[in-house]
């Protein structure tokens, strides 16, 4: 099993419910700055993209860590930091191409998405299906379906003609 978080920015309406449930479950506060997922808004806030750890196959954070504190959780597939080994150097922050690792100034520790032990709160909380927890190899199929939905209108006349 290799489920992960799949993101569909075209469905995101930017409400930030995901940030609230993520920070609440991980930090017991409602604080986007401590959320593992963030909605990045572009073009004067018109477009919204959920951003979180991609759980890279060849993870730069793991390679960058001088203390070998970052490892993949074999059950969930999440890249996890062993905080007892972590020295807080933030090399993983520099290495991450997505900015998905952040530093929590109140805890003095790095953090990133841990997939909530296989029950991601963000996916559960998203009302619009913009964040989905699913098999990694399904993303292409999901996206194809989304794309097809967008041009279904063009197919309708053909369907009725075939009746």
């Amino acid at each position: 099993m290799s489920k992960t978080l799949l993101v569909y920015p075209e469905k995101c309406l930017g409400c930030r419910i995901c940030e609230m449930f993520c920070s609440l479950s991980h930090t017991e506060t409602c604080n986007p700055a401590r959320s593992r997922i963030n909605i990045v808004k572009m073009n004067y806030d018109v477009h919204c993209v959920p951003m979180m750890c991609q759980q890279c196959t060849d993870a730069p954070c793991e390679a960058a860590c001088p203390e070998r504190a970052i490892h993949r959780n074999q059950t969930t597939g999440a890249m996890e930091t062993n905080l007892s080994l972590c020295i807080g150097c933030r090399a993983c922050l520099f290495a991450c191409p997505f900015g998905a690792t952040s530093f929590d100034s109140s805890e003095k520790a790095v953090f990133r998405c841990d997939l909530c032990e296989g029950e991601p709160r963000c996916a559960e909380a998203c009302p619009y299906g913009a964040i989905v927890y699913a098999e990694q190899d399904r993303q292409g199929l999901h996206k194809k379906r989304n794309a097809v939905e967008q041009f279904m209108a063009a197919l309708k006349p053909l369907r009725s003609a075939a009746k």
Binding site: L13, G14, C15, R16, I17, M20, F21, S23, L24, S25, T27, E28, T29, C30, N31, P32, A33, R34, K41, Y44, D45, V46, E124, A125, P127, Y128
Partner: protein, 634 residues
């Protein structure tokens, strides 16, 4: 004990002193949000001051649930003494500004005094700075947000600003966010402009701490789930929210056209909003932490992008006899960028159009602009003239009553205002509850929040659930049915006033609660949910009954605020036009009865424990509500 208290931030713009206090001392009696804001106004506003002078106090109110995982926790109230009518002004807006303010650690921002030169306020957690805004003065609300985010080098900053209308103290100027969430009514933008405060830019990374985070998580998750499983959510998702309710379902039974001139307009029936949205809607939109996302984000090339909900649509369509949706959009964007309240501006233009139609004003009175019904150029030019106080705009910027006094007696006869405000475009002639709410309410009562049942019961569709509810809660079906002035309806109105204050007190959205309640069989269920969320968030005890009492206390407190400025029963008057029937439409045979409406007001004051003669709270009532200590008998 964890520090979960949120702060009240005070800034005196005259000497730039900043102080902070916790909300704790207010919470027992006033709970939070708008109620705390009104208490602050009561304590700190000197009666009789000029609303556009340095003596006015402008308050931004988050509630105890603002910026949390509770559904729709992104709404903010703005209150001050209103330059429209000298009474207490309040208006509510959404988006992401309020949550950002709460994440910076603040529930309220209280602004007193006035700056000599243009400034803006930058709040970033503990850091509070009054900064030079001379380079921003004159920019529109969109440009201001873009400039500030660029200057402060943070795209996540939330900006609230006034446009040229607020700078020029147009009495119905608004305050707007970068996408067009607007604090529109009662002229709060003019108050901000009078303080020379161009914008409030906010960034918060401290977050909200909760008394019982685990329980709050469970409650918030369940509440979101309930909303997502409710028919209201499905309806919101399936159809385009504004299009369906405003253009199809409610139109004939609800909307009034022009300056309350008709109940039906053929051109409106022929509009094709679906085509407009299919072509120009970028996505649906809404506010922080809200599952409903009831607004539209629209981008029309040449006019611009932004979000809008139903009020601006009606204000620049039916109200001004405009049947061109792209002209409507251009007007909405223009009004939001200049920072004008769309409802008052639409009403003002409708008023001018009627006067023009009847020869009371002519081209020479309107700087040569032909104010023909629906004239696109006239609408757009008048928006700019008002915002810039240019030519006739100088007169109109003072509000419709002051303008009518200049245009003469026949203009005064055509004036449709309640306490100085143009009411929302509803067919008040057919709905007694909505009319009572409009008559006795302060600021902008927005009566259909409470009395939408009257409209729904006048349309085809299932009625049994509503009628059962009316019997159970108010003792009679008459409470919800239109066409009567019963005591049951008076009680329904009072309850509706309380229900419409509760979300403002807690910092959530009335539409979400209202939407859920429409499909729920348990009238009180959602309020119990809110009480649970409040307790888990604050650790304070609160019952549903106490929450409703807090709402009643707020209604009384705001009434006392108005009483200090001369408000009383005499001001609770409806325009003559509500007592005349419309020429057309499904409600064309209906009109309010003046005598019965007065009797209904008697019953309302009596039920409230107010004096029937003055329409003001009695000392006994104030004592019962715990307000006796600080409010002298009025």
């Amino acid at each position: 004990m964890k520090d979960i208290e949120s702060l009240i931030l005070r800034l005196n713009l005259t000497d730039r002193t900043v102080t902070r206090e916790t909300t704790g001392s207010y919470a027992d009696l006033f709970v939070g949000g708008r109620a705390v804001g009104s208490k602050i106004l009561y304590d700190e506003l000197q009666p009789g001051i000029d609303p556009l002078g340095p003596g006015n106090v402008l308050v931004f109110n988050n509630g105890p649930l603002s910026g949390t995982a509770a559904p729709s926790s992104g709404r903010v109230d703005v209150s001050a003494k209103s330059p429209m009518n000298n009474f207490h002004g309040v208006t509510n807006f959404g988006g992401f500004w309020g949550a950002e303010l709460r994440h910076a650690g603040y529930s309220h921002v209280v602004l007193t005094g006035a700056s000599d030169a243009p400034v803006y306020l930058f709040i970033e957690n503990e850091r509070v700075e009054v900064r030079d805004a001379r380079h921003l003065w004159g920019l529109d609300t969109y440009e201001t947000a873009v400039r500030l985010r660029r200057e402060l080098e943070d795209q996540d900053i939330q900006v609230l600003s006034i446009g040229p209308a607020g700078e020029n103290r147009v009495r119905f100027a608004s305050i707007a966010t970068n996408l067009g969430n607007v604090a529109g009514r009662t002229g709060m933008g003019a108050v901000m402009g009078s303080k020379k405060l161009k914008a409030v830019a906010v960034r918060g990374t401290r977050g909200v701490r909760l008394a019982d985070p685990k329980r709050f998580f469970e409650l918030a998750r369940d509440t979101h789930r309930l909303l997502r499983e409710s028919p209201a959510f499905e309806e919101n998702n399936r159809v385009k929210p504004v299009t369906d309710s405003m253009f199809n379902k409610l139109y004939e039974n609800m909307l009034a056209f022009g300056n309350y001139e008709d109940g039906r307009w053929e051109n409106f029936s022929r509009l094709e909003p679906e085509k407009f949205f299919t072509r120009y809607q970028v996505r649906r939109a809404g506010c922080f932490a809200c599952p409903m996302q009831c607004m539209h984000l629209v981008d029309v090339p040449g006019s611009g992008y932004g979000i809008a909900f139903c009020s601006p649509f009606m204000s620049f369509l039916g109200t001004v006899w405009n049947d061109d949706l792209t002209a409507m959009w251009e007007a909405i964007i223009l009004a939001n960028k200049y920072g004008l309240d769309v409802i008052e501006t639409g009403g003002m233009i409708a008023f001018l159009m009627e006067l023009y139609q009847n020869g009371i004003v002519r081209d020479c009175d309107t700087d040569g602009i032909p104010m023909e019904r629906g004239n696109r150029r006239a609408i757009l030019q008048m928006i700019q003239k008002i915002a810039k106080r240019e030519g006739v705009g100088e007169i109109l910027a003072e509000g419709s009553r002051r303008a009518a006094e200049i245009f003469g007696d026949r203009a005064l006869d055509a004036l449709v205002t309640v306490k100085g405000h143009f009411p929302h475009g509803y067919q008040f002639t057919a709905y007694e509850g909505a009319s009572l709410m409009q008559a006795v309410g302060g600021a902008d009562p927005f009566p259909t929040y409470g009395t939408g049942v009257e409209i729904r019961l006048s349309m085809p569709g299932p009625k049994e659930k509503l009628l059962t509810e009316a019997r159970a809660l108010f003792g009679s079906e008459e409470a919800y049915l239109p066409g009567n002035y019963s005591l049951a309806k008076v009680r329904m109105v009072i309850d509706a006033e309380h229900r419409s204050r509760i979300p403002d007190i807690l910092g959530v959205c009335i539409y979400v609660i209202d939407g859920y309640n429409k499909s729920s069989t348990d009238y009180h269920f959602f309020y119990d949910r809110l009480v649970d969320l409040y307790q888990a968030a604050t650790g304070r005890r609160l019952t549903r009954q106490e929450l409703f009492t807090a709402a009643e206390r707020l209604v009384n407190l705001e009434r006392c605020l108005d009483a200090r400025e001369g408000g009383n029963r005499d001001g609770d008057r409806l325009p003559d036009r509500f007592f005349q029937s419309f020429p057309a439409g499904v409600n064309k045979d209906k009109a309010l009865d003046m005598g019965k409406m007065e009797e209904m007001k008697d019953a309302y004051y009596r039920e409230r424990g107010w004096s029937v003669a003055t329409g003001l709270p009695t000392p006994e009532k104030l004592r019962d509500l715990g307000l006796g200590d600080f409010i002298p008998p009025v």
